[in-house]
Structure formats: C-alpha cells, structure tokens
Amino acid sequence: MTTNALTSKSSTSGRAGDKIFSGAALGAGVLILITLFAVAVFLLIQALPTFLADPADISGGAGFFSYIAPIIVGTVVAAAIALLIATPVGLGVALFISHLAPRRIAGPLGYVIDLLAAIPSVIYGAWGYMVLAPALVPGYDWLATNLGFIPIFEGPASQTGKTMLTAGIVLAVMVLPIITSLSREIFLQTPKLHEEAALALGATRWEMITTAVLPFARPGIISATMLGLGRALGETMAVALVLSTGNLIPSLIKSGNQTIAAEIALNFPEAFGLRLAELIAAGLVLFLITLVVNMIARAIIARHKEFSGAN
C-alpha cells in the first residue's frame, strides 16, 4: 500500500513537473520571438513622432529622409571600406591557418585571431583615436599630394587623422576575426579526397586551393562576409571615437561623414522630445538594414548546410 501511494504521488507530481517544465521551455522560446518582434514595435512606436512631425522641425530642416540619407551613405561607405580590407586579409589568414601553417601551431594561431574578437570595441575605438589616427597622418598627406586628383583622396588631408578611412580600418580590424573564424571552419570542411585528388593530379598547393577548396567554400565565404558586413554596419564605438564627424563628403581623408550608430551614440545622451524620436527612427533604419543583411547570410548558410553534410 505504501508503495502504491508512493508511486501515485510521484507520478502526479511528475506529470505536473513535466507540464511545467515543457511549458517553461516553450515560453522561453516564444519569449525570444516576442522580444525580436517587440524590438521592432517599440522602436516604431517611439520613432513615430518623427514621421508625423512637420519636415521643417527635423534636424536639417528638410524632413526625415534628407536627414537619414547622408548618414546611411556614411554607414555603407564605412562598412564597405572595412570589408574591402578585411575580406582578403581574413580569407588569407583563414587559408594560412587551415592549409599552410604547420598543424602543431595552427590551433594556437586560431586562438590568437580569436583574441582579436574578444577585445571590447571601446578599446579599439580608443586605440584608433590615440594610436592609429596620428600614425596614419603621413600616409594621408602622401595620398592627398600624389593621388589627390581622385575625389576620395581629395586634400588637404586631416591633420588629426580622424577620418572615414581610419574608421574603416578600425572596423576592418574588428570584422576580421569574424570572417576568419567562419571561413576557417568551412575551409577545414573541404573533403580531404578532393584536395588529395587535386594534388595527385600534379596541382601546386595554390592550384589545389583554387580548384578544390575555394569552390567548395564559396557559399561559406559569402555568408561570412555578409555577417562581417552586419557587424561593420552596426558597430558604434569605433566610429564614434575615431571619426571627427561632419556632413557627407566624398573625400575619405578629410574630417566629415557620419554613420547611423555613431550618430545615435553621440547625440542620444542629450536628446529629448523630437530629437529622441529622430534618433530612435535612425536606429530602426539601422535595425532593418542589418536584419536584411543577416537574414540573407543565414539563408545562404542554411542552404549550404544541406549539401555540405553529404560529403
């Protein structure tokens, strides 16, 4: 009888436990979906006054679009510079770790590159502000005198070095570990048989990389670059600290230009009323841009996953 009572008690409490636990797990999952939805909704509600206000009241006095357009361009330009530098270097580093370095030191080298990802962004910003920007001034002077006829290198160069190009370089350093670690993973997944077949046919190591590794890894490289782009678009502190902001100008080596994230960080602490709504609207725009970029990247990875397992 005692055993009976015990079992019945344990089974009822067990059933309730099961219900509670699975309910909690489901609730947590749904909470995440709600949060993401809420991010969009709350930003939209708080940003609404911007779209309803008289265009003359918006900063710049010509409506929200002409306020946001130049800083969207600035954001894209900064991210583009970062990717132009970080993609080739990042892929090179990934290839070095996966295919060129001796196996014994390849692992530790991977950690070293991951260390780059661990350094907080504000420290990169401080480094860019105090070390990199002054160090680049002679280079900018050289660019302005020798390549000044190209609009993006139009002089006179900034004498503090706090320019769009510096911001782009700092962003490149921050994006590099993302591109490296993702593409390294994919390079290592290349079927060994493909590589050995290429080498057996007499290919040099570089030919093996171009014929076996790179075609296999192409979707992975694209998505790694897109994820890097997402990070570069949304990175705030590096730009806020490094860039001496101003209006949109074509020259990358003069003070000027602005990105969405830095615009928010620099102005939010003092903002209230309509200005606050404006900045939140800018945040919403940034959210949508990065959302699209990340969704494309994830979709490519997801599609690639179905094929990579078969090998």
């Binding site: 099961d18 509670i20 590159i113 260390l115 350094i119 907080p120 070390v131 570089w206 928010i264 939140i280």
Partner: protein, 380 residues
C-alpha cells in the same frame, strides 16, 4: 616529388618520346635552398635604402621590403621553376603577408593598453570613484605633479552589477529555449522559426539593443528613465542568442542512449533533462555562458543609451544613473574631466581599458578551463 622525377626519367630511357614533346614542369629545375633567404635579405637591405631616401620610417621600410621581396621571389621562382610554381609562390607569400598584417593591430592594441594602462593602475584607482574629482582637481594634479586622483571603482561595480543582472536574465531564458529546441521542439515549424530568429538576433547591432531597452522602459516608466536594470535588459538581448546557440550545440551532442536509459528506468522527461542531459553537457554550457558574459561585459553603446553616466558609486540597479568601465573609458576620452589638462583623464581611461581587457581575458581563459576540467568522461 623526386620519386616522380626518377620514374619520369626511367620512362624516357625505356620508351623514348618524340623530341618535339615539351619538358614536363615536374622535371624542371628548382630554386636552390639558399635562394629565398638570400632574396629576403636583399629586399630588407633595398627596402631600408629606399625608405632612407624618403626619410626613414618603420612603416615605409616594412612596405618597401615586403613589396621588393614579393616581386623578386615570385620572378625568381617563375623563371627557374615555371609559371605555375611562380604563381603558387606569389600566393603563398601573399597569404603569409595577410597573416602578419592581421597580427599587427592585435600586437599594437595589447602593447598600447599595457604601456598606457600600467602607470595608472594602482589601489587608489581600483578603490575610489570619480566623486568630487573635478577639472580643478586634475589641473592641480598636473601643476603639482602629484599622483592622479579619482578612479574607476564606481564603473567597476556598475559593470559587475549590470553584467550580473544580464546573466540572471539571459541564462534561464537562453537555456530553457535551447532545451525546447533540442528536447521538445524537435524540428517543428516553431523550433525552426526560433532557430532562425536567434541567428538573426546574433546580428542585432548593440546600439539597437540599447535603443530597444530604452524605448521599452521609456514607454512604461516615462521618458529618460535610465538605470542599471535597463542596461541589463539591453545586454540580455545581446546575450540570449549566444547562450541559446552554445547550449543547443552542447545538448545536441549528449548521446540519445543516455536519455533512453533514463526513460527505461521510468524517469520522467523533465527529471531526465535536469538530472541526466544537463549534467552531461554542463561543462560546455558553462563555458558558453562564460564566453557570452565576456562578450557583453565590454559593450559600450547599449550602456550609453540606457544607464547614462555617473561619477559616484551607485550600487542600486533599480534607481539612478550608473557608470560602467566601457562608458567610463569613452567619457574620459571624449569629455576629459579637465579640458585644459587631459592627461589625468587619458591615464584613467587607459587604466580602465587595461582592467577591462584583463577581465575579458580572464573570462575567456576561464571558459577554456571550465570546458577542459568539467568535460564529461568519455566512455571506453
């Protein structure tokens, strides 16, 4: 390779090929072993010479040497070993160069933080706040040459408290979500939607997460409600996806036999998960959580828009503005305490940067140690 060359030779001796046939590239000559080091040495000398012509500078010296070496070594390999080998050599050197290029900023950042941070790192800095430290105080410090006053105790406490609260929010939510995905959701539409949006959430810019928390609490508590807990919520938005991903990966590698053995003993599902599945995966989960903490502890932008800035010690996350190490660094650099004498502020900023980097590195190390020490015993 040499084996192939000999077989090639033996082939030609037994079966003479027509003389018009091109020579196989495998049988071509090779650069002697000393050639590449010699070219490297030569290009360093030439690089130094070229750099001195335009006023010596380490950067131009390195660039000139690298370019000269790349061209000379590629041309030499191409001439002696053939076009394909030449191309191989060029790309190999380019890949080496990209690796060295990637190490430069890392070394420079670490060196700068150590060099500029160590002088300001002392007991006074660690255990006092910025309360009462004004521009006048800094001016006097510079004029009299006395040690810099004011420290980052308030920011250190703010960082620890906000990160603690973010962890308290994110770990249960993240772990339960991962349990749902692996144990309950299987591959249903909801589970797939959650997986996809968790991935998307990883890419939310940190400033947007901060704006969300600010907008959310702004609607509930009225505008300009800035305090520690708002920052903790913002950080949770960034932290939850990392926790979900790492927990999910770990739960997935728990062998199904363990679950089935537990079910066979009549154990309920929730007890199986709590007593069998999670203990097996706990090392990986703990290290994933530690890495997630390391990621959010250095976030600046979300704190900037949610917790404001304070110069006094505030240990209550539910009221008043709060400072954290990243925002402390940012404001010390952007708005030095004394605009005329910025050195004390810069020194404080770098000391705080050193402190922050030490914390992040310690967390990263801890994550690796946890993963190693508490890894489940492998069966046979």
């Amino acid at each position: 390779m040499s084996a192939m060359t000999t077989s090639e030779r033996s082939n030609t001796t037994t079966q003479p090929t027509p003389p018009s046939r091109k020579r196989n590239s495998l049988a071509k000559g090779k650069l002697p072993k000393w050639a590449i080091p010699a070219i490297a040495g030569g290009s360093i000398i030439l690089g130094a010479a070229g750099s001195t012509l335009t006023g010596f500078h380490v950067a131009s010296f390195a660039i000139y040497s690298a370019v000269i070496f790349l061209i000379a070594a590629s041309v030499a390999t191409t001439v002696v070993e053939g076009k394909r080998r030449g191309k191989n050599a060029t790309w190999t050197y380019l890949i080496y160069a990209s690796f060295i290029l990637a190490l430069i900023p890392l070394a420079s950042v670490l060196y700068t933080v150590l060099e500029k941070g160590l002088p300001g790192m002392n007991m006074h800095f660690l255990f006092s706040s910025m309360n009462g430290v004004t521009g006048a105080v800094d001016n006097q410090t510079v004029e009299n040459g006395t040690p810099v006053l004011g420290g980052a105790y308030h920011a250190l406490m703010g960082t620890l408290l906000i990160t603690l609260w973010a962890t308290v929010i994110s770990v249960p939510v993240g772990m339960l979500t991962a349990i749902y995905l692996v144990e309950y959701g299987k591959n249903g539409p909801l589970a797939r939607a959650i997986t996809f949006f968790v991935d998307v959430m990883t890419g939310i810019p940190s400033i947007v997460a901060g704006l969300f928390a600010a907008a959310f609490f702004g609607l509930i508590l009225g505008p300009n409600s800035r305090m520690g807990i708002v920052a903790a919520v913002a950080l949770s938005v960034l932290m939850i996806p990392t926790v979900v991903r790492s927990t999910e990966e770990m739960l997935k590698i728990v062998p199904n036999e363990l679950r089935e053995a537990s079910y066979a003993l009549g154990v309920r599902r929730w007890r199986t998960i709590l007593k069998v599945v999670i203990p097996t995966a706990i090392s990986g989960i703990a290290s994933g959580v530690t890495l997630a903490i390391a990621r959010v502890i250095g976030e600046t932008a979300p704190i900037l828009v949610t917790a404001g800035i304070a110069s006094n010690i505030n240990l209550n996350v539910f009221a008043n503005w709060m400072s954290t190490l990243p925002t402390f660094i940012y404001y010390q650099i952007m708005t030095p305490t004394s605009p005329t004498n910025v050195d004390p502020s810069i020194q404080r900023a770098w000391a705080a940067a050193l402190l922050l980097i030490l914390m992040v590195m310690a967390l990263n190390l801890a994550a690796r140690l946890i993963a190693k020490l508490f890894a489940p015993k492998k069966g046979r």
